[in-house]
Chain length 88, copies 2
């Protein structure tokens, strides 16, 4: 993992709401965007923004199926991030 991605992930985790979103994605094997919105009191635009940040950070994969977008944690990347932190 290069330094850029490391900092992108750190920044992605820094917002409490976004971290909660990531937690929920991690908890399910795969979850749909519209499902998420039931659980957080934010607009669709804001949710879309957060998912984009998580995607840019490389933390999740998006898969479009019909009208819906499904999200999945990239566990390999997450593990790499943790092992970077462990080096401290």
């Amino acid at each position: 993992m290069d330094e850029k991605q490391f900092h992108q992930i750190s920044k992605a985790l820094a917002d409490p709401r976004r971290f909660e979103i990531l937690k929920r994605i991690a908890a399910e094997d795969e979850i749909a965007c519209s499902d998420m919105r039931c659980h957080f009191p934010i607009s669709a635009a804001t949710m879309s923004h957060h998912l984009k940040e998580l995607t840019n950070a490389g933390l999740i994969d998006l898969r479009k199926e019909a009208k819906f977008v499904h999200m999945k944690l990239r566990r390999k990347v997450w593990k790499e991030y943790l092992s970077q932190l462990n080096k401290l």
Copy 2:
């Protein structure tokens, strides 16, 4: 570790420079504030600000000795933070 501290730490790590500072503190057993300033091209005020953030997050301890301030990583807190992240 309560949620507030967890988010304070996440935010503290989100700034690249501040994370570098933390890394350096972690690398030494104990380091002085004025030593740090040799290694980062920032003003004393900015360094002081970052150290305050790290302290507020509970990540480091400050010990004042004469004119100098010495810093130390609170390894127990760091470990707790990592174990929180591991739960994801």
